[in-house]
Structure formats: structure tokens, C-alpha cells
């Protein structure tokens, strides 16, 4: 027999009440845990994915949309920008480097991103099998893509136009070849199919205006003859027809070409953060979007919902605390005699105090641990139900230090809830109680 067992025995005598209190508390804690995990993990994934990118330049439109489409690859691009303008901008003295992106196609819902090798360096991606893309129409698969699609080095596939795998608008005549698999990075690259800018152009045949309407499934797309692939813009010096062995751009921007979707910009000096966005937005037909600014804006937008839900969770926790307090308070009336008997058996007042506090703590601790597990369970189910959770950066198995604070916080709640009943137990006047017959 010890105090823990004793307090536990009292909890067991009212199982339904205890269950209610534990479930109530667990529910509140679970909501708090889910919000904590989701916001922490999404925030981490956001900063991880935008690391090293000072500015994104895209077509005029919503800057948030530019960030979402070009860094996190979850929204549609705002349109395309002319390569010539991009090249002009890249020569600006405030800019250290630019990485071009060209979007438009997908395979099984995984986006195909035309870029250069600097994109790999930006995210520090290693090739785990095979090589990087070296010719047009060669691709390297992100780790999650390779795992989920089952494609491996040497396989070929045709891309779908747009970002939704609807089986329509498949570019049957243009087959991509997998030449490499990328090592897992825990960021957005895992869910991308990377290739050269030239591949994307080749598939789309430099069809200007195409990219602005990517989202439209019924978009009309000209599949011209091979011969027509030699086009007016002719980014091949010789003007030869497109071949699969076409040379590709490994660094910087291609010498010739028509349009790209966006440009990831790295500044040379902090001054650029002040001058460059204004210059781009006012003097060019392009739109500049700052990743930290836009993610902060995104968070402030969804923050209202998060705050509301969090407030709701706190209300539940407070009600749970109140319920625990009432349960203890009421049971203590019935237990006055028990407490007096314990005193007559040698228990000191502090011991009775601890005994009652312990009862509150056992309930809150159980509820809290259950709530945290429930929270992780919800994240786990969410990651199972929704496709490609990796894109959100959610992982059910991760525990964060904030959860320790949730645990400590809920213990404080339990302490407060049982404080008044415990003081009453401490003050039990044994002589008076025993004299009551």
C-alpha cells in the first residue's frame, strides 16, 4: 500500500466519472497537440523549403500564389514570364544568382519541374541512383515520387498536362526517361520530378500562352509534328529539330528560349530586399514575392482559424479542470470519515493533502498523455488519408518540446483543480468528524 495506490483506489470506485474527466481533458489536449504539431511542422517545412531563396519572381498576380507554386509546389502558377525579361533582371547588380523554374506538367499528380542543376544545390539534394538529367526529356525522381510511383532508372512515362492526374491531356508522344533517383531530403524536392527547362519546352512545343492556362483541363494543346518542333524562337543554335539528345542548360539561364514560370532569386546584399521588389513590381511586367513575408501573411490568414480552435481547446481543458474539481470536491464530502480514519491511523495532514492532490494529478496526467497520443493519432490518420502528406511536412512520429510544456501545463491544471479539496482534506477536524454519528 502506498499513497499512489490509495489515490488510485478512490479513482477506481467512480469509473464513469473518471472516464468522463479523462476523455474531456484528452479531447482538449488532443486539439492543442494537433495544432502544435501541425503549425510547428508546417512552419519548419516552410522555412526549410524556402531556405536560401530571397525572392521569387513570377508573372503578375498574387505574390502568395507565386510562393506557393514556385517554392512549395501546391498552388497553380500565376502565369509565365518572358525569358528575355528574366535574363535582364538576372544581370541586376543586386542579384547574386537566379534559378529558373518551368512548370506545367505532372505525372500521377507529381509535378514535373524544369530547372537547372543549381536547384539541386539549393536543396542540397544528392543523387542516390543513376545520374542527373543530362539530356532533354531525361528526369530525376524525388525520393517520395520514386517510392510511390514505382518508377526506377530506365523507365519511361508520358506526362499529363496540368497538375491533376485526370487521365486527360496526356502528352503521349513525348516520353520522359528516368535516369536518376534523388536521395530523400525531407523537403519539397522529394515530391517533385526534376528535369531540364528544355524538356518542359519540348513537351509544350513552346506553345506560348499555354502555361497561363495550365489549370484548365480542357485546355487545347497543339501537338504538332516533329518538324514543327523547330520553332520560331529556336533556342537551338543550329535550328535543328528537337531531338532527345538536345543540349540542356546546366547553370544560369538558357541563352535562348521563350518563357519560364518563375525565377528563384538570391540577393547579393541586404539592400536588395528593399530596392529589388519595388523595382520589379513597378518597372517590369513581373511580380516579386518575398518568401518570409508571404509565409507570414499565410500564417496570419490561417492564424484566425488556429486561434479560434485553440481557444476552443482551452475552454475544453478548463471545463475538464472544473469537472475534476467538482468530482473531488463532492467525493470529499462523502470521504470525510475516511480521511478522519486515516488520521486516526497515523496519517498527518500533509499526507492527506498529498493524497487528494495525487488523485487530481493521476486523472490529469492520464488525460494528458492520452490526449497527446490521440493528437499524434489524428496526425497519423491525416497523413494516411490525404495523399502525399510529406508535402505538408507532417509526421505523426515526431514529438516536439512544446508537448512537454503541454504536459507540465496540464499537471498545473490538475494541481489547481485539486487544490481546494486538498486543503479541505488537510484541515479535516478529525475529532469533530468522528464525533458525528
Amino acid at each position: 500500500m502506498n499513497l499512489l495506490k490509495l489515490s488510485g483506489s478512490y479513482i477506481k470506485t467512480k469509473p464513469l466519472n473518471t472516464l468522463l474527466n479523462i476523455v474531456l481533458l484528452a479531447l482538449g489536449i488532443a486539439i492543442i497537440t494537433v495544432l502544435l504539431l501541425a503549425s510547428k511542422q508546417v512552419e519548419k517545412s516552410l522555412t526549410q523549403n524556402s531556405r536560401g531563396i530571397d525572392l521569387v519572381v513570377g508573372a503578375k498576380g498574387s505574390p502568395l500564389q507565386i510562393i506557393l507554386s514556385s517554392i512549395f509546389h501546391i498552388d497553380y502558377p500565376t502565369g509565365n514570364i518572358p525569358l528575355s525579361e528574366a535574363k535582364q533582371l538576372s544581370r541586376n547588380r543586386l542579384i547574386k544568382n537566379t534559378i529558373p523554374l518551368s512548370l506545367g506538367d505532372s505525372y500521377q499528380g507529381y509535378r514535373i519541374v524544369g530547372t537547372n542543376y543549381e536547384y539541386l544545390d539549393l536543396y542540397q539534394v544528392e543523387v542516390s541512383e543513376g545520374t542527373r538529367w543530362e539530356k532533354s526529356m531525361e528526369v530525376a525522381l524525388g525520393a517520395a515520387v520514386a517510392q510511390q510511383s514505382g518508377l526506377s532508372v530506365g523507365d519511361t512515362f508520358a506526362s499529363s498536362h496540368g497538375f491533376i492526374d485526370d487521365g486527360l491531356n496526356v502528352h503521349d508522344d513525348q516520353q520522359f526517361t528516368v535516369v536518376g533517383l534523388l536521395a530523400p531530403t525531407q523537403n519539397v524536392v522529394d515530391n517533385l520530378i526534376l528535369t531540364s527547362l528544355e524538356s518542359v519546352w519540348q513537351v509544350h512545343d513552346h506553345d506560348t500562352g499555354t502555361d497561363t492556362t495550365h489549370a484548365e483541363a480542357n485546355h487545347e494543346h497543339d501537338h504538332k509534328d516533329e518538324d514543327d518542333h523547330d520553332h520560331e524562337n529556336g533556342h537551338e543554335a543550329g535550328g535543328n529539330p528537337h531531338e532527345h539528345d538536345e543540349t540542356i542548360t546546366e547553370e544560369g539561364l538558357p541563352d535562348e528560349g521563350d518563357e519560364i514560370t518563375s525565377l528563384l532569386v538570391q540577393f547579393r546584399s541586404p539592400m536588395a530586399a528593399v530596392q529589388l521588389p519595388r523595382y520589379i513590381n513597378e518597372r517590369t511586367n513581373m511580380q516579386a514575392a518575398s518568401p518570409p513575408f508571404e509565409t507570414a501573411r499565410l500564417f496570419s490568414l490561417i492564424g484566425v482559424g488556429v486561434d479560434l480552435l485553440q481557444g476552443f481547446a482551452y475552454v475544453i481543458v478548463i471545463i475538464a479542470a472544473l469537472s475534476i474539481f467538482l468530482a473531488l470536491y463532492n467525493s470529499l464530502k462523502a470521504r470525510r470519515y475516511d480521511l478522519a480514519i486515516m488520521r486516526s491511523l497515523g496519517a498527518s495532514p500533509p499526507l492527506l493533502f498529498t493524497h487528494v492532490i495525487l488523485e487530481g494529478l493521476i486523472i490529469t496526467l492520464t488525460g494528458c498523455i492520452l490526449g497527446i497520443l490521440l493528437g499524434h493519432g489524428v496526425i497519423f490518420i491525416a497523413t494516411q488519408l490525404y495523399a502525399r502528406p510529406g508535402q505538408l511536412g507532417l509526421a505523426a512520429g515526431q514529438f516536439i518540446t512544446e508537448e512537454l510544456w503541454v504536459l507540465i501545463g496540464s499537471l498545473v491544471v490538475g494541481l489547481v483543480a485539486s487544490l481546494i479539496p486538498a486543503v479541505q482534506a488537510y484541515r479535516t477536524n478529525i475529532s469533530q468528524v468522528l464525533a458525528e454519528r
Binding site: 500500500m1 502506498n2 495506490k5 490509495l6 483506489s9 478512490y10 477506481k12 470506485t13 470519515y337 475516511d338 480514519i341 486515516m342 488520521r343 486516526s344 491511523l345 497515523g346 496519517a347 498527518s348 495532514p349 499526507l351 478529525i430 475529532s431 468522528l434 464525533a435 454519528r437
Partner: protein
């Protein structure tokens, strides 16, 4: 040994003061404290048990003046040296019989010894009920269990508060016999506080408190 010297007590500063006669019960003797309701016998019992503190005087139990003990030491002394039996058994309903006895050892700060518990239960014909929930015990069993709890820690003094009042003659005799047997077994001083005149016939050493 129980010794009362010059004890007075008042519940609050504006209430009447109880003045108790000097009295002593030698070691291992059995005695009965009689008195009508309102004579202060429950007050005296609580003073003896250290549940109340006298305004004046000395209460010596064994060789300890318990009025000198600090609150913590008094609680400990009560757990180890005193065995209390009440009119109602008052076992803790959330525990089994054995757990009730383990609790008595735990609260007294003594080693939790199941062997001692088994022996004590055996002496009160309760061994087979050790694992029973106390709510399933019969009235007689519960009364014996309460006695078992009082004598478990080998007390110097057993204080019984109206142990027989609600019982018929047969059961009254049986309980008195049990108390006396157990007191002898543990060589404890037994003091029964009661208004039940039947107890007089069994225990010659008496003190009758007059109504104040």
C-alpha cells in the same frame, strides 16, 4: 499505562470548560469509562487519542506525555501506539480487507507485513476474507475487521468508543470478549468508553464521569 493528571478542556474560549478527574489504568489492564451523553466521555477519548489537545494537564500513555508531542510526532505516535475502535467499523470501502490493514501499517510508517496481517486476521477468524471487498463483509465480519485494524500494529493502548452500543446482548458479549482477548494477545491496555451499562459486568476497573 494510561494516566490523567489535572486535565481540563474547552472547545472554544466562550464555551464551558470540562474538568476531568485524575485517573490511571495500569499497563495491560482493562478498564471502562462510563458516563451519560454530554458527560464529556467522547471528549476525553479524543484527548486520550491525541485528536484534541487539553487546555491544561498531562496525559501519559505508556511513558510518553502526549501533550508534549508536536503535531507530526503525535500523528506518528497515534498510528504506532494507539489502536482505535469505533462504534461503526469505518473500513475504507475502496479497498479490500487486506489493503485496509496494509494501509494501517503504511500510515503508521511501519513495514508492510502480510504475514502479520494473516496472523491477525486468523486470530479473528477472518483469514479467508482477506481479499474481500469490505462492502461484501457481514456486519460481524466488519466489526472484527475494525478490531483487527486496531490491534494490527501492536498498540500500547486500545481505545474503544462505544463498541457495543448498537449490538444485542449476545453480540455485545462476543465483541467484548474479542476486544479483551486481543488486548491480552498484544499485552495492550484496553479502555472502553461507553454509556452501555452491560460492559460494567465484564470489566471491574471503572471510572464514571458525572454530567458537567
Amino acid at each position: 499505562m494510561i494516566q490523567l493528571q489535572n486535565i481540563s478542556f474547552r472547545y472554544s474560549s466562550d464555551s464551558d470548560s470540562f474538568q476531568f478527574p485524575d485517573w490511571s489504568v495500569p499497563s495491560s489492564e482493562h478498564a471502562v469509562l462510563l458516563g451519560a451523553s454530554g458527560s464529556g466521555k467522547t471528549t476525553l477519548l479524543h484527548l486520550l487519542a491525541g485528536l484534541l489537545r487539553p487546555t491544561n494537564g498531562q496525559i501519559i500513555i505508556g511513558d510518553q506525555d502526549i501533550t508534549q508531542l508536536k503535531s507530526n510526532a503525535l500523528d506518528r505516535f497515534r498510528g504506532r501506539k494507539l489502536g482505535l475502535v469505533f462504534q461503526q467499523p469505518h473500513l475504507l470501502a475502496s479497498l479490500t480487507l487486506e489493503q485496509n490493514l496494509l494501509l494501517a501499517q503504511y500510515l503508521a510508517g511501519l513495514k508492510q507485513d502480510r504475514k502479520v496481517i494473516r496472523e491477525t486476521l486468523d486470530s479473528l477468524s477472518l483469514k479467508h476474507r482477506a481479499k474481500a471487498r469490505v462492502t461484501t463483509l457481514s456486519q460481524g465480519e466488519a466489526q472484527r475487521a475494525a478490531i483487527a485494524r486496531a490491534v494490527l500494529n501492536n498498540p500500547t493502548v486500545i481505545l474503544a468508543d462505544e463498541p457495543t452500543s448498537s449490538l444485542d446482548d449476545e453480540n455485545c458479549n462476543r465483541v467484548l470478549e474479542l476486544l479483551q482477548n486481543q488486548a491480552r494477545r498484544h499485552q495492550a491496555t484496553l479502555l472502553i468508553v461507553t454509556h452501555d451499562q452491560r460492559v460494567k459486568e465484564h470489566i471491574p476497573h471503572q471510572l464514571t464521569l458525572a454530567k458537567a
